[in-house]
């Protein structure tokens, strides 16, 4: 492995950590515009993080070490995931550490840690949030895996860099199954990242909240890390989506030098701008579902993904 690839790996991780809050801020801004409100500054998430990092932690008396370690674990897993996902280049030293199925597992690890931390203090809201989060998780995971199976059917790999390379090589062919898979993926993305049809990131209404209910006992630097990890998770999901469905611009194997990298950065930023606006549009147009409608929503995502697989098998075979 060449030294330059390690440099690019480092660059990619730093970029992910740096612009993840910006992406969240951009979605919030688009939502505000669509809802005819005056928007907060794009830099608002950074100000929030700065404020939180300098506050004193108020920790519940009975909080255990698990509770205190979880923010670091969350942030760590999300940064590692960002290092594995080929958002800029496919020739990454760490990309072979985990294929996309292992990546789903990594996200599950983060989810389990957060749920356990939410149960640690023993408040009514914490356990409620943990239960709902695990419920959404176990429904979303099969749908996501079906999306990945679909990608495997097309390009014979579950490793994201190979998928990007494969997609770039056959970009003239658009298999109809991809469309089903893409819709299913967007639905899973919304559910997994606590976005509107399933959860609302900007409310603390006890009947509906999931993600926020788990964070209630966190404060200051712990909260900052958890929030940062959440925005990294959204960023990571978006990048997985780009790698699976919109891989244009990502510097593939052999594309050395500064120029492809600049193109890749520009392409990533462009895709993030559009994706953020699209997410904000979806969120503004849809209403939040009752919690027991969530299984139907995720079952639909799952069925779409399976339909994609069957379409591929019927047309391809």
């Amino acid at each position: 492995m060449r030294a330059i690839s390690y440099v690019r790996q480092f660059l990619e991780v730093v970029l992910a950590i740096a612009i993840a809050p910006l992406f969240t801020g951009w979605i919030a801004q688009c939502r505000a515009w669509l809802q005819n409100r005056s928007a907060p500054s794009l830099l608002q998430p950074y100000r929030m993080l700065r404020k939180l990092f300098f506050k004193d932690v108020a920790l519940a008396q009975n909080a255990s070490a698990l509770f205190r370690a979880t923010p670091y674990v969350l942030f760590g897993t999300m940064v590692l995931a960002a290092a594995i996902i080929p958002s800029l280049v496919t020739d990454l030293p760490l990309a072979r550490v985990a294929d996309s199925i292992a990546l789903v597992g990594l996200f599950a690890t983060a989810r389990v840690f957060l749920s356990l931390a939410a149960m640690d203090i023993g408040t009514a809201f914490g356990t409620l949030g943990a239960r709902r989060e695990m419920m959404i998780g176990f429904l979303a995971e099969p749908a996501l895996l079906m999306v990945l199976f679909n990608a495997f059917m097309l390009f014979g790999s579950t490793s994201l860099p190979s998928l990007v390379d494969g997609y770039r090589a056959h970009q003239s062919v658009v298999d109809p199954s991809v469309i089903f898979a893409a819709v299913a993926f967007v639905m899973v993305l919304l559910a997994e990242n606590a976005r509107i049809p399933i959860d609302n990131p900007s409310t603390h209404l006890e009947l509906t909240m999931i993600h926020e209910a788990m964070l209630l006992e966190y404060s200051a630097r712990h909260l900052a890390l958890v929030e940062w990890a959440s925005s990294l998770k959204l960023f990571n999901y978006a990048c997985i989506g780009f790698a699976l469905f919109l891989p244009w611009g990502i510097a593939t194997h052999g594309a050395d030098g500064g120029w492809p990298l600049l193109v890749a950065i520009a392409a990533l930023l462009g895709k993030l701008v559009i994706a953020g606006a699209a997410l904000a549009l979806i969120e503004s147009l849809s209403a939040k579902l009752r919690i027991f409608r969530a299984p139907e929503y995720l079952a639909m995502a799952f069925l779409l993904a399976v339909l994609g697989l069957l379409v591929h098998l019927l047309l391809g075979a």
């Binding site: 932690v57 008396q61 203090i121 023993g122 009514a124 356990t127 943990a130 239960r131 895996l145």
Partner: protein
Amino acid sequence: MVLSAYHWTFALAETLAGHELRFMLCIVAAWMILGLAGFLRPHSIRFVAHLLFPAGGVLCLGVAVLAGLYLGSGRGPQAAILPLGLPDLPFHIRLDVLSGFFLLLLGVAGAGISTFAAGYFRSGEGTAPALLGLHYHLFLASMALVMLADDAYMFMVAWETMALTSYFLVTSHHRIPEIRRAGFLYLLMAHVGAVCILLCFGVLQGGSWQFTFDAMRGAPLAPVWATTAFLLALLGFGAKAGLVPMHVWLPEAHPAAPSPVSAMMSGIMLKTAIYGLLRISFDLLNVRFWQWGALLLGLGLFSALFGAIFAAVQTDMKRLLAYSSIENVGLIFTGIGLAVLFQTNNMPLFAALALTAALVHSLNHALFKSLLFLTTGSVLHATRQRSLGKLGGLIRPMPWVASLALVGTLSIAGLPPFNGFISEWLLLQSFLFTPQLPHAFLNMLIPLGAAALALTAALAAYVMVKFYGVIFLGQPREGSLESAHDANWLERLGLGWLAFGCILIGALPQLALNAVAPVTGKLLGDSVRPSSTVWWIAPIAQQQASYSGLILLAGIVAVVAATFVFVRLLAHGRMRRTAPWDCGYPWQNSRMQDTAEGFGQPIRHMFGTFFRMERHLPSAADTSPRYRVYIEDRLWRGIYLPIARGVQSLADAIGVLQRGRLAVYLLYSFLTLLGLLVFVL
């Protein structure tokens, strides 16, 4: 120093080379002697628990080392004939790679369980210490002999000894009626299974009336008889493994048994059934059909999903783990089913992958399920509570048990970088290749199978969050829990050993793959196996998928450490302790947390058709409201009770014959004789 240690290890390996079977027999004999030695001082807990059990654990370690050396050496099978048994029916024993792998599993898990048991068994509980020691060590020895047996006679003797000793262990608190009931159900199912296995051997000998396994390998069987033998083996071993619908004994017997025994039964004994099924279907039978694979796959997936769903609604911690065992056994059967499907369609590479997944999962399950059952033992000792509704917050008084249980929890939930993830990942990877099977209809159905597998894996995470969260996290639900004490050092050692195994296989899955490789090579007739290097494992090729547990673990640790340092450097470490916030509600108490029932509620809601539920809801005017929900397995009323009633009425009908008067019985003999005479003439 290091050099001399290396030298000694090498010398040891040299001495043992080629004599592994002989040394293993010595260990089996030593277990029996240890069991009997307890009677020197039958009531001394110190002698039996603190001396004999650790010695048994060391012997387990010996078995693991011998099996590991044997698997690593790549030598052929070792066979011997023991001059025991019936006059012209001596015991045949044989050590080959399949038995070697399962003996490795037995040794590794058994060492941890025996060490824990040394600290666990205390006086004044159930069976006398010496008797307990005898049953325990005979149980160990019989499981090892099941794996070493090379003829049907020896196999059945060992199998029955295993069933009986474990029955006595399950009923060691025999004064409690429910435990006697659970023990009886277990014994009944064990014997129904044993009868099926016996019949299976009867079919396998194929008219030669030779009951050595060698003769059975050579016996030509018509497809009908081969399928009959396979189905009988599936019934017999499925009953032992807890495959749905033969699973009913499992959630009864596991909670009834003392925790080390539950760990031994779930971690090791269920695997003897897996061993038996593999031995018969891949070794003794010469032919296989893809329909067998489809059957195994279907039953396995259904068991897995069934177990996970039922585990999610349990309120007894050991019952929850028992249902989770059904789930894991289902996953193992799924892997075996896929392997048969691939192998019968001439895809040995994919078959090796699926079989690897099944075997690695067996090993993993032996580690993490034993670990979790043992932690429930520590919790039980510390709190006297088995019901999840009365636990909570134990991470504070029991930090050792809680942190080791966390390792088991994350492993069994199938999360990277722990070991449970490895086998689930391999299984998912082997599912990816099913569209290449030449059966159009199967191809359409199998993606749904993969989805069921994914759902099961995700549900397992749900179940384990419930298990860990309700027992160890939150506020204690009973006042007495504050004074719970942590496990003693022997218990910690046993738990630590198993947790270490979970982390080691998670970080270095290559170790497990290397142990499995000779087995898949032998059973599938080729030297195919998933590729692995020091850093990576890749099921087929690295471009398709790869995973590195070590780098993942190191990466997480490094990033977490770096984050911690950065946060402390750039910000500060100030902190104060306050009351929990909970949206500013100050009157919260431990009753406001989710109970085990509450945590399972979404599952009850979504999968209601699986359960038979009885709910008693209080009305608004009740002065002392009681909420009660009772959940039952539909199969119990659907299958078992009708069978039981049928047997009862049949017995009643036959009971008419039983008059209790000698004259009537003489009349029966006379009539029978007459009938026979007519028949002969």
